[in-house]
């Protein structure tokens, strides 16, 4: 298939582009298979590229003398393209509409994008590295090949870490008992040996099925005396109702060593409604002074942030203070479950607050363990009405929680907020293949990893990563307990209201301070050299 068959008007000479984050541009607009490109006619050779994939909705407003196409993007930006001819405008709009919703994975931009300089493999999410870390704490684990060729669980990677005393056969049984085959699997091992595990709901159903192997599998991580907690991120009522659909939740009778906690976290579709309202408020520059805060509140987004943080704190405390292991699941085990497991690690593990550690965490928790990015990020806030229940900013909510932590502990993170923003934008539209597909199986079949460039490689490359470093980073070895009081939670300005973000000025200044420090140090080195040379000369003269 050729892209050209969709492109009726490849180039318009007179076009005008406006956007909230760019300066107005006059020039010629070009349409390619993946981009709308505007070349400025003025002397400065400016260009602006908009990825079709990033376009969420298109508004057409055709007048007599000019035609406006408003491109509403998934990263919440809007652009307004003005051309003179109505025919051109219609063609462009139609082309973008078709090209932005191409489903075929092989036609996605990442498969065409070639990084300008060859990037080295980031090697994030490596199971060997992970296993090495765990071996330092506990010798109860082994690497298993039971999921080779994704035979028991398509949303888990092929090689996994399982308890030593559990045979592959038992794991197979357990995976049959769990929804989508997502059996309880290790997520994080705390330094005291307690673990966080994640899974999906047990398929108890109406006839109260139980699975000895599943019980054995999770009991074995507790050891002999310990108790554990099972956190279900649904209300008890919903969890029990799920039995009629073949799901359910663990009964305390069958899992006597475990205590149940129900902490209700919203499903992706609820988050979707919330973020739509939030973006509406935050992009509304003309909002009445008196209404703004209550409108923000009624979007409920910060409430979701708080709930997720609360749940993560709870789990962190179970691990750190109570010394108990925790098993977390929701219905499918790849939405709110992953939010909690990853935030818990950020709270507890200083390693996850480094740049590499954080990217590793995202790769490990979200990419490898099957958060369905393709479904969740297919549409964004502007395509209201079209969204199905599969869409929802689960991952974005996680990033917002990290932002809250970062805001509360500005010294404890090696990276700064712009990294989170960058990642957030790349989940919706990107030249990198990292967030393509729903799970490892899909990536495997489409050969995403070999054919596309990884965002991590880009972010970790030598000329990119320094710009994301937090200049006031002070590594600290302990936990960071976030405050979930409403007074402590902030709207994520850099993402939601990028046109005004005071912290950006501060950050820029800090960064330049850092640069300045480097500069001074090198000057000092040079001067010290000179001094010592001079001294040598003097010595020679004397002798």
């Amino acid at each position: 298939m050729e892209f050209s068959e969709f492109i009726k008007t490849p180039k318009v000479e007179e076009a005008f582009l406006e956007g909230s984050c760019i300066s107005k541009m006059i020039g010629s607009a070009c349409l390619t298979g993946h981009h709308l490109i505007l070349y400025s006619h003025s002397g400065d050779n400016a260009e602006h590229w908009i990825l079709h994939k990033n376009v969420d909705a298109i508004d057409r407003r055709f007048g007599n003398d000019k035609c406006q196409i408003t491109l509403k993007c998934k990263d919440f930006e809007t652009y307004c393209l003005t051309v003179l001819s109505q025919e051109d405008a219609t063609n462009i709009a139609n082309s973008i509409e078709v090209l932005s919703s191409l489903d075929n994975i092989n036609l996605q931009y990442p498969f065409f994008y070639k990084a300008t300089n060859s990037l080295s493999e980031s090697n994030l999410g490596s199971i060997e590295e992970d296993f090495l870390m765990i071996s330092n704490v506990s010798d109860q684990w082994r690497i298993s090949e039971v999921n080779n060729n994704f035979q028991i669980c398509p949303t888990y990677p092929q090689r996994i870490i399982v308890p030593k005393s559990i045979s592959d056969q038992m794991i197979f049984k357990s995976s049959e008992f769990r929804n989508l085959g997502r059996f309880p699997i290790l997520s994080y091992c705390h330094h005291n040996g307690r673990v966080v595990m994640r899974c999906s709901q047990p398929q108890i159903g109406t006839n109260n099925r139980r699975c000895k192997e599943d019980e054995k599998l999770i009991n074995v991580v507790l050891g002999s005396h310990h108790r554990g907690y099972i956190m279900d991120t649904r209300t008890q009522q919903i969890a029990l109702q799920a039995r009629s659909k073949g799901g359910g939740t663990e009964t305390e009778f069958n899992y006597p060593q475990w205590k149940k906690i129900h902490h209700n976290l919203s499903r992706p579709s609820a988050l979707y409604d919330s973020i739509c309202k939030l973006v509406e408020v935050s992009r509304d520059k003309g909002c009445a002074v008196d209404k703004w805060r209550s409108r923000l509140e009624s979007s409920n987004w910060l409430h979701h942030v708080k709930e997720v943080l609360t749940a993560s704190c709870l789990v962190s405390q179970c691990l750190d203070k109570e010394g108990a292991s925790v098993l977390i699941h929701c219905a499918d085990g790849f939405d709110s479950t992953l939010q909690i497991t990853s935030l818990t690690q950020i709270i507890l593990n200083p390693e996850c607050r480094t740049l590499r550690g954080f990217l590793n965490l995202v790769e490990k928790e979200w990419i490898l363990y099957g958060h369905p990015f393709r479904e969740r990020c297919a549409r964004s806030v502007y395509s209201v009405g079209k969204a199905s229940r599969d869409e929802g900013p689960t991952f974005l909510l996680f990033l917002d929680c990290v932002h809250q932590l970062q805001h509360q502990y500005p010294l404890s993170f090696e990276f700064d907020g712009s990294l989170l923003c960058q990642i957030a934008r790349h989940t919706y539209a990107s030249q990198f293949g990292t967030f393509l597909c729903n799970n490892e199986l899909e990536r495997f079949t489409s050969r995403v990893r070999s054919k596309t460039t990884s965002l991590w490689s880009h972010l970790l490359s030598d000329d990119v990563f320094p710009s994301y470093l937090n200049p006031v980073y002070q590594p600290r070895s302990d936990t960071i307990w976030p405050s979930v009081a409403p007074q402590s939670l902030m709207l994520w300005g850099e993402l939601f209201t990028p046109f005004v973000d005071p912290s950006a000025v501060t950050r820029r200044c800090l960064r330049s301070n850092k640069l300045y420090l480097h500069e001074l140090r090198s000057t000092i080195n040079e001067l010290s050299k000179e001094v010592s040379q001079l001294e040598e000369q003097e010595e020679k003269l004397k002798t």
């Binding site: 129900h262 500005p410 960058q422 009081a485 820029r508 500069e519």
Partner: protein, 903 residues
Amino acid sequence: MYSQKLAEKDIKLAGAYEHVYQLSPSSEVDGLLLPGEITVGHAKEVISYVLHDENRRGTSGLLVCTNFRLMFVTDKPPYCNLIAVDNKLIGPQDVTLSNIETIYIEKQNGKRKKLYPTSRNIKDGIQKLEIHCKDFRILTYSFKLSVLGEGKNIVRAILHHSYPQDSSLSFAMEYISKKASKETSTKEASNISSKVVSLYRKVDDWEKLIMTSQAMKGRWRITSINETFSLSATMPGLFVVPSSLSDAFLKDAIHQYNNNRLPIWCYTHPNKCSLLRSSNFREESVQFQVDQKIRQEITKCDPSGRKIRMMDLNKMCPTLQQVQMSFHKLKTSCMPANEDEYMESDGKWYSTLQTIKWLQFVSCCLEVARTCVDHIDSGLGTVLLIETLGVDWTACISCLVQVLIDPTKRTIDGLSELIQREWIIGCHPFTTRLGILHQPKKSSKFQPESSTSDHPEVCKSPIFMVFLDCLYQILTQESTKVEYTSFFLTSLADGTRLPVFDTFIFNNERERNRTLQQLNQQRTTDIETISIWDWDVQYPHHVQQLFINPLYRCKRFHHLVATTTPPLGGNSIATNDDVTSPNTLDLTTTPKVEKLKSSKKSSTHHRSASDSTCLDTTTSSMTSSSTPHGHKRINSNSYEVPYQPPQGRSVFYCAGDERPDSGRSVANSRSSSTDNMAAEDDEAVVIGLVDQVNSRAPQVAERLRFVPNSANNNNDVIGCRDDDDVMQVKTGVQYLRFWKFAYLRWVSFSQLIGGGESPQVEQENKMADEIVQLASKIEHLEAQLCNGDTSVTSPPPRVDDVTVQFVSSYFPYLAISNKSANKSTLGRVYNFSRKKEGKSTTSASAPSPKIHHHHHHTEGKPPHRPAPLSPAQVAASSHHMVALSEQQQTSEGGTYNRLSSGV
């Protein structure tokens, strides 16, 4: 950087208190008293509870009431909620009587009663004393261990002394008269910094102000018609008026205005537009020509004859009552009785904030100020601020306008002088507005008939707090452009409740003058008052360092960064308002696009001419007669550069990350606009700025003394000049931040250990220190190279390696020291052990424990549990997670509060 001092202080404090406590109370407290301070009551064996801890933990000690403060003295180190700020005047556990807002007592039968200044009938058997402070602190004391009657006595004493009715009874009078005789020798030494801040009571200060401005020369003059305050109580003794108005005319005109306030000059921009403030013209006056004439003359002060714009602040700003109401609500929501109450505000916090309206008022003030700034800066004409009394919003707005428009007012000294001139000399009825004096019903000073507190003349209304909040908003938005910090602002707010200084204890200058005259008549020697700007009286040197914004401090050196070094990372952006998201660059990674240029270049050309004018004024007004290092003075003909209003939005260059080419373009345009302003001119700019900081308190000067040699061969020093722009402050309510540091600083459970703004400032300070250190090292080495003199010793290396991990987000207020950084007691929302306690007490409905005053848990030990638990309770508490899920089952909606506060 200062947290190590904390630890030391801890020990010192402990020592001091031990010494005191071993002796019997009352007379031996004298060692801790200030000059002029006398004990008026005390109670022994009083328990002081930890803030917001539901009275579970406390320390026993001696509670002393003096004519200045309520003092809590104990031999045990205060283990919790330690106030790090090392105030020479009040201890960490003390509270000044002026700070006391309301007093509650609790009887043995549990009845809680609010006491009024007029309350007489105080009986024995007071169990608990709860004091709500004006700075939102809550102090709770219990007398259950004291001798019967002591509680009553001290409460009576507090009540009697807490609500003074006359400024002349203020402690400041006692203090200064005693202090003057006691410490004449030390006074001189400590007086250095106060001399830096002009108090505007002498004609020199005013002359310095108007003579240095070229735009004012010959058009404005200083008049002394009100020197004895006989014409007007609220007008300053000296003020600036158009030169063409005669004294005789003014004397006549003054009574045609409300509150006897003429329009007085506040500020003149280099483009010759001015800012003035005044009260309303009297409605009943028939001499309209007076008002007209004055306006005409003001118009004539502007050579271009632009029309005056009248800003009626009565219509544009909220009323005094509205502000008072709003502040009251703010106070209520920021003084939760316990953690649960704090957490309950959850979910409705934003709408609460909205109904409080405080931020809306702040936004409104900033908006009015911005309107004025736009008007003046774009050269549309002079602005005259008008208000009924002319002492409230006019002061606030005029200050804000000047801060936004004039970079010299953004330094600590500049701001201090501004506040002194507009608020103190220009008059703001501090005692009335802040409720420092108790205004009994008679309030004869004002209108005898009206007893309603709604009348603007006797209305309580914290306009000054609105002003400080506005300054805070400016700080958050433009943190690199202002020298002050949040701590400076809260110190000012606290200073209003510290009756040691003459700054905030009078309603106007006449009152001050008369009080001092009376005082001087009684005594033989002349009394010298102390102003708040004399920070040495209050804070030791290292605390004063916290006033200085590190980002502002190290910006001074940014021109040192060689422009050849590209900014870190490929895609940082040159201009401030060019917010091209990095993403657009990233998504389109082709070499061509990476070069995306700032399209704002054209507007920089417009800006530069006006920049140089502003800057030159700054330079010469700040440059003292001698210029160090032998650089040329800037030539004064640069004033003749015609002012060009900036077109469109001005472009700022953020220090350090500008690109070589954009910076150069400014330099080029500068040299094209004026031939003689080339590289040497840029040097002069640097000198000017250094001088400016040299004139500051000596310690700062010391830090910034270094004049970079490398700047000589570096034409691009324009990195400094984002300072010299008019600040574009966002006024929308969405952009304003809640000033947690001021309003929530005593709410211990809202603090974060190692998080929040304060540790970041600490870290920035470290970086700034390092920059200063390295810069001086370079200078030193270069000097060595030039002179070939190797005998010069190098500067001492820094000894400073303190982790900021344990600094509270409210540092230096609710700071905990390294020692007591006990994670199980502070700084978190989740606390398993706390839940157990709470649960045990509630489930057993146990009465409040009897013995807790003994339990000062020491380092390492877990916090004490108030009551021994029964085995059943222990079992219950260890299974509290179960209980939790049960709770969730029962009430799905309300679980969070319990959960977040407890678990």
